[in-house]
C-alpha cells in the first residue's frame, strides 16, 4: 500500500488504513534506530526545511534527528512568534523556502490553520509539527505507536486524556487518531478548559468526565497534558495547588485505574502540577519510550510523504 498524500496536516482526514501504514512503517524504522549504524539512505537527495515559528526544542530535535537518520539534507529556520506579528513575514519566508527548491517543509506555528495558509503559497509537501490549538499529528502518532507496542492493537482500548483540552492540539489529534483506530477516549479536566461540544469530536465522539476518579477507573492508559501555568493569569483555574489536588495524577489516582494502566505525557512535565513526581518516575510511565518512538514516527511520516514504500531491502542497504 502506498501513502499517496502530499501533506500531513492532521489526522482528521486520514483513514485508519493510512494511520496503520504510518505506525507499521514506524515500527520498521524503530528497528533501524536500534542498530549500531542508525542511518538509512531512504531520503538521500531530499531537502527538508524545518520552519519553527514557536520554540519547541523537543519536537524540533526529534524531527531533525529523524531527517538525519533518513539521510535527508536539512535547512532550519526559527523565529519566535512574538516577534512576528504580520504574516507577510510568514509568506515571505515560505516564498523564500520555495525559491530554495526544498522538497518538504516541516512547520510549527502558533496559529491554527497556519499550514492551510502555507499550502496557498507552497506546492511542496507540508508536515504539520503543531499549529495553534488545532493539530499535532506526529505527537498523536507517537502516542499511538507507544500504546500499540504495549497492546498490539488500539481497538477496544480505553484512553483517558487529562488536562487543558481546550488549548491542546495534542488532545485534538489524539482524539482523532485513537477513535479512528477503534479506541475509546475519555477526556477529563476543569470545565473552563473544555471546548464546546468536545463530546462530538473524533470518530464516534468521546466521553466527557469532570471527576478524575471516574475518568481513570476504566482507563487502560492515561495521557496527561501539560498545564500552561500562564493560564492561571487568565483565571481559567484558581491555583496550581488546587489544580494538583483536583486534577493532578498521583499514585493514589493511578491505584484507581485497572492494573497495568499506562501513563503518558507529551512533555515537558510540570511535576507537582499535572503529574506527581512518583508517577512520572513510575514503571507504568512510558514518557521516555514516547520520545524514542517520536523519532521513528517522524521518520515514517517523512519517508511516506516523500513517496516511499515500505520496503525492507531499502531499509537494509546501508
Amino acid at each position: 500500500m502506498q501513502f499517496n498524500r502530499k501533506d500531513l496536516l492532521g489526522l482528521e482526514d486520514l483513514t485508519s488504513e493510512q494511520i496503520k501504514l504510518i505506525l507499521d512503517t514506524a515500527d520498521n524504522f524503530k528497528e533501524v534506530l536500534g542498530r549500531k549504524i542508525k542511518k538509512v539512505p531512504a531520503l538521500r537527495g531530499v531537502t527538508i526545511a524545518n520552519v519553527f515559528y514557536e520554540p519547541s526544542t523537543r519536537t524540533r530535535m526529534s524531527f531533525e534527528l529523524a531527517e538525519k537518520r533518513l539521510s535527508a539534507d536539512i535547512i532550519n529556520f526559527s523565529k519566535a512568534t512574538s516577534s512576528v506579528k504580520k504574516g507577510e513575514t510568514l509568506r515571505d519566508t515560505l516564498e523564500n523556502i520555495k525559491a530554495m527548491k526544498v522538497d518538504i517543509v516541516v512547520m510549527r506555528h502558533g496559529s491554527s490553520g497556519a499550514h492551510k495558509f502555507a499550502s496557498e503559497f507552497l506546492d511542496v509537501s507540508i508536515v504539520n509539527a503543531g499549529d495553534g490549538q488545532h493539530a499535532h499529528p506526529t505527537q498523536a502518532l507517537l502516542d499511538m505507536m507507544t500504546l500499540r507496542e504495549r497492546w498490539g492493537t488500539l481497538n477496544g482500548k480505553k484512553v483517558t486524556i487529562i488536562g487543558d483540552i481546550m488549548h491542546s492540539r495534542v488532545a485534538r489529534s489524539n482524539i482523532w487518531g485513537l477513535t479512528k483506530m477503534g479506541a475509546k477516549v475519555t477526556v477529563c479536566g476543569p470545565p473552563t478548559m473544555m471546548p464546546v461540544d468536545i463530546e462530538k469530536l473524533g470518530e464516534g465522539g468521546v466521553k466527557l468526565e469532570y471527576d478524575l476518579e471516574k475518568a481513570v477507573s476504566e482507563a487502560d492508559a492515561i495521557n496527561i497534558l501539560r498545564i500552561q501555568l500562564e493560564r492561571q493569569s487568565t483565571r481559567l483555574f484558581p491555583s496550581s495547588r488546587e489544580y494538583f489536588e483536583v486534577f493532578g495524577v498521583t499514585s493514589d489516582v493511578i491505584s484507581l485505574a485497572p492494573k497495568g494502566c499506562i501513563v503518558m505525557h507529551p512533555g515537558p512535565m510540570n511535576r507537582g502540577v499535572e503529574i506527581a513526581q512518583e508517577v512520572a518516575d513510575s514503571e507504568q510511565a512510558v514518557i521516555l519510550p514516547q520520545v524514542t518512538n517520536g523519532v521513528a514516527v517522524r521518520m515514517a511520516v517523512l519517508f511516506l510523504i516523500a513517496g516511499g514504500k515500505v520496503d525492507d531491502t531499502e531499509l537494509n542497504e546501508n
Partner: protein
C-alpha cells in the same frame, strides 16, 4: 459628485420598466417622470404619451437607489484600503446611491472638522451621496462623549463607536440621553469585550474542531440586553448594528413589543454564510461579529420576514491584501459588501423563496432610510430621482476585476449570482457602465 448641472435641464421619462414601490409593497408596470433631478410623477402604464425624451428600461425593474447605513470608507487614515472615491464607486456598482459611513477612521470622526472634511471630499470625488456618522466617544475610547450638538450642526446624522462596544454603562446612558434631545440614533456594536477577547470565530463545535478561539453568541446578547435597558431608560433611538444571533433577535423582538425605540440591521453575510465555511481558514470569512450557525441564520431570515430586523446593511469593511494575507489569528475582521449585497441576497434569499424581491428592495431602500431618517428610498413624487435598474434573473459570475474597491477581501469572488445591477440614476443623471 457634481449633480447641480442636471437640476435645471433634465426632463425625461423612464419607461418600459417594472416599477418597484417598496412602501406599497408592489412591483408593477409604469413610467416615471423626472424633472430637475426629482421624481415629478409616476403613471402606472408602460409607455406614457409624451414629447419628452424617454429612457427605455424595457425588461428591467426600476427601484429606488439602495441605501447602506453601515459602510467603512476608510478615509481619512486608511486610504490604502479604501478612499471616498473608490468606496463610493463600489457603492454605485452595487446599486447604492446613498451610504452612511462609520466613524472609525484616523482621525476618528469625533470632531466637526472631520465631518466637514468627509463631506467636502465626497462632494469633490464621491460617486454617490455620503452621510456621516459621528463617534459617540472621543477617540472611540468609550470614556467621554463627543460634542453631539456640534457634530449634528456639521452634518452628522447618527452616532456610533462601531467596531467597539461602549462597555461603560454610564457613558452609554449619558450618550443616549444627549442624543435623544437631538433626535439622533445611536448605533451600537454589541459585543461584551471580556467574553470575546482574542476570539476568531463563533464559539461552537466548529471552533472546537478548528482550534480557533470562539466568541459565544451570549457575548452579543448580553451587550444587546444592556443596551435595550438603557434605551428604555432614556427613550433614545437605539440601533443595533449587524445583529447576528437567534437570541439577539428574541431580545429585539421583545423590546419592540414593549414599545422601546429600537431598530436593527443585519448584513448580507450573516444571512447567507455560516461558520462551517471557516474550515477553509479563509481570512476573507473572518468578520466581527463572526459568521454564526445555520440555526442563527434561519432566525435572522425569520426576523426579516416578521419585521424584527428592520433593514439590511453591508458593514462593507475593506482590508488590503497585506493585512489579509496573514495567518487567521492576525487577520483583521471584515469583508467587502457593497457590490455583492443585492446579487447575493437575491440569489440566496429571493430565489430560494425566503422573501419576495419587493421585500428585499424595501430592506435595501425605504427601510434603512426610515431607520436613519435619510432622504430617498421611496418611489414617490418629490423624492430625489435616485434609482437602480435591476435584472433580477441575469446570471453572472462575480470576478475580481469587477471590484471597484481598493481592497479585494471578498469571499464571493468567483461566485455565480442570479440578479444584477444594470444601471444607476443619481439625481436624475444616468451613470453608465456601473457593473
Amino acid at each position: 459628485m457634481k449633480m447641480t448641472s442636471w437640476k435645471d435641464k433634465r426632463e425625461f421619462w423612464i419607461s418600459g420598466a417594472k416599477i418597484a414601490d417598496p412602501e406599497a409593497g408592489k412591483i408593477r408596470a409604469g413610467s416615471v417622470l423626472i424633472q430637475k433631478g426629482m421624481i415629478a410623477g409616476i403613471v402606472w402604464q408602460k409607455s406614457p404619451e409624451t414629447e419628452l425624451p424617454v429612457f427605455d428600461a424595457e425588461g428591467l425593474v426600476l427601484a429606488p437607489g439602495f441605501i447602506d447605513i453601515h459602510t467603512h470608507l476608510r478615509e481619512p487614515g486608511f486610504e490604502d484600503k479604501e478612499t471616498i472615491e473608490s468606496g463610493t464607486a463600489a457603492a454605485i456598482a452595487g446599486g447604492y446611491t446613498s451610504i452612511l459611513c462609520m466613524a472609525n477612521t484616523d482621525p476618528v470622526i469625533d470632531d466637526p472638522s472631520v465631518v466637514e472634511y468627509i463631506t467636502k471630499r465626497a462632494e469633490d470625488d464621491g460617486h454617490c451621496r455620503v452621510y456621516v456618522t459621528g463617534a459617540v466617544t472621543k477617540g472611540l475610547e468609550g470614556r467621554e462623549i463627543t460634542e453631539f450638538f456640534h457634530l449634528k450642526r456639521s452634518g452628522a446624522v447618527a452616532l456610533s463607536d462601531d467596531g467597539k462596544y461602549i462597555a461603560d454603562s454610564k457613558v452609554l446612558r449619558t450618550a443616549l440621553e444627549y442624543a435623544r434631545v437631538l433626535g439622533m440614533p445611536v448605533i451600537s456594536h454589541c459585543e461584551d469585550p471580556y467574553l470575546t477577547s482574542d476570539s476568531q470565530m463563533n464559539e461552537s463545535f466548529v471552533s472546537t474542531r478548528l482550534g480557533l478561539k470562539g466568541a459565544h453568541t451570549a457575548s452579543e446578547e448580553i451587550a444587546i440586553a444592556r443596551d435595550i435597558k438603557l434605551a428604555e431608560l432614556t427613550g433614545a433611538h437605539l440601533h443595533i448594528a449587524h445583529i447576528s444571533t437567534a437570541g439577539a433577535v428574541d431580545l429585539v423582538k421583545k423590546a419592540k413589543k414593549k414599545g422601546i425605540d429600537i431598530t436593527a440591521e443585519v448584513t448580507p453575510h450573516h444571512l447567507t454564510l455560516d461558520e462551517t465555511m471557516l474550515e477553509s481558514y479563509d481570512r476573507n470569512l473572518k468578520v466581527n461579529p463572526p459568521l454564526r450557525s445555520a440555526a442563527d441564520i434561519s432566525a435572522l431570515k425569520a426576523a426579516l420576514r416578521d419585521g424584527t430586523v428592520d433593514c439590511v446593511a453591508t458593514d462593507h469593511a475593506p482590508h488590503n491584501e497585506i493585512d489579509k494575507q496573514v495567518e487567521f489569528n492576525y487577520s483583521p475582521p471584515g469583508m467587502l459588501g457593497l457590490q455583492t449585497a443585492f446579487p447575493q441576497l437575491n440569489t440566496e434569499l429571493v430565489k430560494n423563496g425566503d422573501i419576495e424581491l419587493i421585500d428585499l428592495i424595501r430592506l435595501l431602500t425605504s427601510s434603512p432610510a426610515s431607520v436613519m431618517g435619510l432622504p430617498g428610498g421611496k418611489m414617490k413624487q418629490g423624492e430625489p430621482a435616485d434609482f437602480v435598474l435591476i435584472d433580477p434573473d441575469e446570471e453572472w459570475v462575480f470576478e475580481k476585476r469587477m471590484i471597484k474597491s481598493r481592497s479585494y477581501n471578498s469571499p464571493l469572488i468567483g461566485k455565480k449570482f442570479k440578479g444584477r445591477v444594470k444601471g444607476v440614476f443619481l439625481e436624475g443623471k444616468y451613470l453608465e457602465d456601473v457593473s
